[in-house]
């Protein structure tokens, strides 16, 4: 280090304050940089769904649907929903890490739009969801999955996945804000998500389940999302299916975005 850092002695004045949008874009840029520097995060995101796809298709597929090929056709849209929902846990962990390291204290002591760091999280999440979904879909295509609705169906399904991820993300942003240890966020997240994801129609048709469970599965938001996604990719989606799938993301966003703001701004 040289002397006392002479260039510092020149006082640098503050440029014209940037817009809220500019602040948000800077945080989006940070999320993109994270992909560049930590590409292995994608490995974490896609390994579990890839294992699920392979194991369920080849081990259970024949027994559940007659043949692995037929089962994959049923299962793949569901695994996309599962991937996106599980992904949301990781953004909560990232937030918890940032707060634990004091990074958010630095952001909060800056004269910026207070919500811009969250906009960055959202950009990162959406990228993560799209990349992970593309990888899983590609593997599905290699194994023989065919979306009957073609490219438009897939694009509509991806939009739906982004909405699902966005809505679910709020749960884990709140947890990330409240919980100091990232691994606790993960444990809590999966404890909550595993029953919700398994007691759904992702893996099997609920007709063989006991009545009480079937009643839950049929109103489980994950089932509603999966039904809509299957419909979009096969071209048989109804307006009602899409509407019901979007209830949970919309309710979660409406309820938890203000909670997020309140926790973040309470300054304790």
């Amino acid at each position: 280090m040289n002397e006392t850092g002479m260039p510092l002695l020149v006082r640098v004045a503050r440029p014209k304050p940037p817009s809220a949008l500019s602040n948000a874009l800077v945080f989006g840029w940070r999320a993109v940089l994270k992909f560049k520097h930590v590409p292995e995060q994608l490995f974490d995101l896609v390994m579990t769904p890839i294992m699920f796809t392979l194991l369920f298709t080849f081990v259970f597929g024949g027994a559940l649907a007659g043949s692995p090929g037929e089962y994959l056709q049923f299962f793949l849209p569901g695994i996309l929903v599962q991937t996106v929902v599980f992904n949301a846990v990781y953004s909560g962990m990232g937030l918890s890490t940032d707060i634990g390291k004091g990074l958010f204290d630095r952001f909060r002591s800056l004269p910026i739009w207070p919500l811009s760091p969250f906009a960055g999280l959202m950009v990162g999440d959406i990228l993560r969801h799209l990349i992970a979904a593309t990888i899983i879909l590609s593997i599905g295509l290699i194994l023989g999955y065919r979306p009957e609705a073609g490219l438009p169906g897939v694009l509509a399904a991806f939009l739906m996945l982004v909405a699902i991820g966005f809505g679910t993300g709020w749960i884990f942003i709140v947890l990330g804000l409240l919980i100091r240890t990232p691994t606790t966020v993960m444990t809590l997240g999966f404890t909550f998500l595993f029953p919700v994801v398994f007691a759904s129609n992702i893996m099997v048709d609920p007709v063989t389940m006991p009545g009480w469970l079937r009643a839950f599965v049929e109103v489980n938001p994950v089932s509603l999302m999966t039904t809509a996604l299957r419909g979009l990719m096969s071209g048989s989606a109804t307006f009602g299916q899409v509407f019901r799938a979007l209830i949970a993301p919309v309710v979660l966003t409406g309820a938890l975005a203000p909670v997020t703001l309140w926790i973040y701004l309470r300054r304790d």
Partner: protein, 335 residues
Amino acid sequence: MNVSPVNQPVPTGPGALAISARGLVKSFGKVRAVDGIDLDVPAGMIFAILGPNGAGKTTLMRMLATLARPDRGSATVMGHDVEQAPHEVRGAIAMTGQFASLDEDLTGRENLVLLARLWGFRGRAAKTRAGELLAAFGLAEAATRQVKDYSGGMRRRLDIAASLVVTPDVLFLDEPTTGLDPSARKDVWRMIRGLAASGVTILLTTQYLEEADQLAARIAVIDHGRKIAEGTSRQLKAATGTGVLHVALADGARLGEAAAILEHWLGHSAQPGSEGAQLSVSAGTAEAASEALASLLASGIELSDFSMGQPSLDEVFFALTAKSNQDGDRTEVGS
């Protein structure tokens, strides 16, 4: 020597205060982390808040930096109220927290460009500003490495650089050298002095007495959420009373005899030094010390060395905290 008692503002015009706080209180559950602190920091000064772990230093600083809301009391930074105008306060300050608040996955350059853009530097200007800071802090070579591969000293330098993207009016440094090796600590001290020379007001917390002594023009001593003393380092030392006379004997065999003479003249017990034939004893005044020295010589005890030192800030701190615990109330330093 005149030390201002606690609770009285330093005698400067109100316009010259960078930070002014009155009766700040912040509790976490039943614990009063900050229990009624007044603080006046003149513009352009390095001001240290000295205290042990858990004394409330960080909480006090977080309230001043708008990161925590006071339960009671009020504070202004550069004339802006921390409660009423937090955005304006944030425009005038920068804070370097206790733990490097950097994105470990990003490179040093990316961290600074990110902050420069948040402050409003656009495109090339943000990169130029990041480059200037990296060069100034000796990090140009490490610019493209991820922060997680930085040493502790490099992180701390980058962390301080991150607070200087725009030159702040007031810089908060929470334990700026905790965990650094001695050479990295000296680097940080140099930076802090350089910044103060350019007119930045610096409020730093530290648990190192030496650090406060070396850097700060004024020191507030904090314990259990209360300010127990405030003044210059010299004033705080003088407030505990006395200086200390250190002598080294040429002949170690006469240590006992010399100790008896010193104790007789100075009225305090003589402590043997850490090595060789040395003695240290509290001396009321320089006159008393020279009389004691003359008496040693008159008895034919030869000295190889002697010195008169002020008490260390450690001794001052322990004296002050012991007093505050005894009284259960604030100690007023000086007259």
